[in-house]
């Protein structure tokens, strides 16, 4: 049987779908871990980034935090968290490691969100802010009804970057003893079970692409109608400038 045939066969085996180690459970695990990490990171990071951007103080911190975040390997972060928060050295290796994985993923997700929300707030045209004040808006209204809506697309870009990154790194968490879809890859590697390895890679890749495309769509929808790029206003900016700090890999 061809290799692809073996992979298809692996997927068709209903035993691989059921139970605690099955595809369904692993997928749910992966999604819950990723979702919880991104949400937690957002609760921590967004207020910080928005506040720094709104008050205009500490901008260097907001920018540097993403550079530092990029320099720390996510794999090292996972292993460090695993040793700080303990993995089971004992025989029951698999199944532990949810806490270290969560901590590492939250730490990983924070920098892009802080930086992007900061940049988003900073990029609000000062004239627009002035105009809002001139119309008699109070500070709160300026923040909630002017600055935040204008900054929203970039804030969403930060969430998207973090989310894609977290889904990818959650795969690596299988190495430090956690579950998720990465288990199929890590176990496939360990057992030299290549159909399982390949099936795991397919599932992880598909999940990542779904998350990326979904959040890209959400990001587009979050752009206020007046700010959507028109035909005449389509400018791409280089990766690494403020607008596209949105790129990090795991």
């Amino acid at each position: 049987m061809s290799f692809i045939g073996q992979v298809v066969q692996w997927f068709l085996n209903s035993a691989h779908w059921q139970g605690d180690g099955g595809i369904l459970h692993r997928t749910v695990e992966h999604l819950i871990m990723s979702g919880a990490s991104v949400l937690t990171a957002a609760v921590i990071a967004l207020p910080v980034g928005i506040a720094i951007g709104h008050f205009g103080k500490g901008g260097n911190l907001a920018i540097n935090i993403s550079n530092i975040g990029r320099a720390v390997p996510s794999f090292a972060l996972l292993v460090l968290a695993a040793q700080l928060f303990g993995i089971a050295a004992a025989a029951e290796f698999v199944g532990f490691g949810a806490v270290p994985a969560f901590v590492a993923l939250v730490a990983l997700a924070i920098p892009p969100m802080v930086t992007n929300s900061y940049v988003g707030m900073r990029e609000v045209d000062p004239d627009v802010r002035e105009a809002a004040r001139g119309m008699g808006m109070r500070e709160r209204a300026v923040l909630l009804r002017v600055e935040l809506p204008i900054a929203l697309p970039l804030i969403m870009a930060g969430i998207r970057t973090s989310a894609v990154n977290v889904v990818a790194t959650a795969t690596l968490a299988a190495v430090v003893g956690w579950g998720g879809l990465g288990r199929f890859i890590v176990d496939g590697l360990g057992l030299q079970d290549y159909p399982m390895l390949y099936a795991g890679a397919v599932m992880v890749a598909v999940l990542s692409l779904i998350v990326e495309f979904t959040l890209a769509g959400v990001q587009r929808l979050s752009t206020p109608a007046g700010l959507r790029p028109s035909k005449t206003n389509q400018k791409e900016e280089p990766v690494g400038t403020a607008r596209d700090i949105a790129v990090v890999a795991a």
Binding site: F75, V79, I87, V164, L189, V202, V204, A205, P238
Partner: protein, 227 residues
């Protein structure tokens, strides 16, 4: 080997200096391999990204597909990408490098295109008026002016690659990642800390070095603030 403290008789400190001095060779070898893996990835990434970037810049038809493909490659988690390759290329440096090169492409291609797009039309007009042929215009006007954006891309690609190289420890390569992995497998803190610290330091040094290189080769851009 039991000196690693796994047994629990002695608390394992975060840094055991005696291990470091006793394993200087191992650490140096890991560092050198890390630099080699990174260099190969970024150089090959550039070799592929420059023509791709030029095509994407000149041709609207190919721009979409090139951006989509490199974007998809970038989105697939590294472990999955390696897993896709292993049945064919095995646990080899080739598997590691194909994956690492793949991750640099999106960053490099995008910055090349953006840098070239940012060249003002008047400059190009002037070059043509001075009698530059298309190739000379590209080589002596367009590309030099795009250098700051391109180097910004190389910096991000390099820092990202340095981080990703650690993951290749799982497929038998790894550079400093092999120290980190070793620390995980033996639950021994010192190699983990050494690998992490050196990896971060390498990323910082590479980033600063490239930033310095850019200042040297594009003196005209110094006045401007580069990202």
């Amino acid at each position: 080997m039991l000196a690693t403290g796994v047994v629990g008789a002695v608390e394992d400190p975060w840094i055991r200096w005696s291990w470091i001095s006793g394993h200087a060779d191992t650490i140096l070898a890991a560092l050198i391999q890390h630099i080699q893996l990174t260099l190969i990835a970024v150089v090959f990434g550039l070799v592929i990204a420059v023509p791709l970037g030029l095509v994407a810049w000149r041709s609207r038809l190919f721009r979409g597909p090139i951006f989509s493909l490199t974007g998809i490659l970038y989105t697939i988690p590294s472990l999955a990408l390696f897993a896709f390759l292993i049945p064919f290329t095995g646990l080899t440096i080739l598997t590691a490098e194909i994956g690492l090169v793949g991750y640099t492409l999106l960053i490099l291609v995008r910055n090349i295109v953006v840098g070239l797009n940012a060249v003002p039309d008047e400059v190009r007009e002037a070059a043509r008026g001075m009698g530059f042929r298309p190739f000379a215009e590209l080589a002596r006007v367009d590309i030099p002016l795009a250098i700051p954006a391109i180097i910004a891309g190389v910096r991000i690609a390099t820092v990202t690659t340095i981080g990703l190289v650690t993951v290749t420890a799982l497929i038998g390569e790894g550079g400093l990642g092999s120290l980190i992995y070793d620390g995980l497998l033996r639950e021994f803190h010192t190699p983990l800390v050494v690998g992490t610290v050196l990896s971060v330091a390498l990323a910082v040094v590479a980033d600063l070095g490239l930033a310095g290189a850019q200042r040297v080769i594009t003196p005209w851009a110094r006045a401007r603030v580069t990202p």
